[in-house]
């Protein structure tokens, strides 16, 4: 309707006119939260390398972002990203991928990258399901939920991914739902600036697969659920675990500074006279 373009389009590949996502999918809200963080930090796409695995969420960096992107194999983006960071330590390395990709098949890469405290930002897009392959149970699928691979209800307990990464040693860990995109942007800014392993667990609606099987339905209904059941960590910390049933605890779980892997390796090389 006008020659004007969306203010964040300048960070996107000009030939890509549309996202690859279903109507109402939260992946687009997370994409925008990420681009807004980059914009507010005054960084350019040349400052970044984006890495993703396989899944719907892995389609955020490529084809959308007008930057160097690696669309890698299922579960392995953190392994590729570690190599990128070792080779190009001056770049901000950002992994964007799904809960299945990063916490199921790729779970060990996640915890060990956190333990090593390698400087990267992971945006873990948690829709509680394997979206791309048709709605199978993931390690993040809520207990009791009916999915196509758990037709009588999911008998397994779900991962608390943020708690896992805090325990593994992450330097910055935060969780926000897509109902809180402004807070998500703020945390992504912090995560990018953090020298160490940083993860944002972005809880998001997959209306197409999760919405259908969970009977939560549409994108708007799922956002309403986040609005009703999102609770800040500061408040949740004072509550009994039984009161937190069905709640989504949001906020910053850890924000600390400790020796980072790339810097530690460089210091080691200096000390032993090795090449940097």
């Amino acid at each position: 309707m006008s020659e004007k373009t969306h203010p964040l389009r300048k960070y996107m590949r000009p030939q890509v006119k549309k996202t690859t996502f279903c109507p109402g999918c939260g992946a687009g809200i997370i994409t925008q939260a990420l681009l807004r963080a980059i914009d507010e930090l005054g960084l350019t796409m040349d400052d970044f390398v984006f890495v993703s695995g396989i899944g719907c969420s892995a389609w955020i960096p490529s084809p959308l972002l007008n930057a160097d992107t690696l669309h890698t194999t299922h579960g392995r983006p953190i392994a590729y990203a570690s190599g990128v960071k070792m080779g190009l330590p001056d770049k901000h390395v950002v992994v964007v991928s799904g809960d299945g990709d990063l916490s199921a098949i790729g779970g060990n890469h996640l915890i060990h990258a956190a333990r090593r405290n390698i400087d990267m930002t992971v945006i873990l897009v948690n829709n509680g399901i394997y979206g791309m392959t048709g709605g199978q149970t993931a390690p993040t699928t809520p207990y009791g939920l009916t999915t196509i691979t758990s037709p009588y209800g999911n008998a397994e307990q779900e991962f608390d991914i943020s708690a896992l990464v805090v325990a593994a040693g992450g330097s910055y860990v935060a969780r926000w739902t897509t109902y809180h995109p402004r807070q998500m942007t703020k945390s992504i800014k912090k995560a990018i600036q953090k020298k160490g392993f940083a993860m944002i667990e972005a809880i998001t609606q997959c209306p197409m697969q999760f919405g259908r099987v969970s009977k939560q339905g549409s994108a708007v209904n799922m956002l309403k659920n986040y609005k009703q059941n999102g609770i800040r960590i500061e408040k949740a910390a004072k509550m009994d675990p039984s009161e937190l049933q069905g709640k989504i605890v949001e906020g910053v779980f850890v924000d600390c500074d400790k020796p980072e892997l790339i810097s530690s390796v460089a210091a080691l090389q200096r000390r032993t006279g090795g090449k940097e």
Binding site: M1, M12, C22, I29
Partner: protein, 78 residues
């Protein structure tokens, strides 16, 4: 000055998405009867008089179909 700019070709439809209508505190979004190129029904331009430029519709639209001039991007909705 026009506050809200729509890019209707980017929209995935108010029927299946409709997030703009949900997050607008002034309930300013209703669906057009005209399909876009992809066959979706985008919203009609919201009433500028009633719009507070809060920025919600822009920030929540998953398909980059809305821009708000001077939108309060870091204002807090809670």
């Amino acid at each position: 000055m026009q506050k809200v700019i729509l890019f209707p070709q980017s929209c995935k439809g108010m029927e299946d998405c409709g997030i703009c209508a949900f997050v607008c505190p002034r309930s300013l979004f209703v669906a057009s009867e005209e399909m876009n190129e992809s066959g979706y029904l985008p919203p009609l331009p919201p009433d500028e008089e009633k719009c507070t430029a809060c920025g919600n519709c822009m920030i929540y639209c998953p398909d980059f179909a809305i821009a708000v001039e001077g939108g309060a991007v870091d204002g807090s909705e809670e």
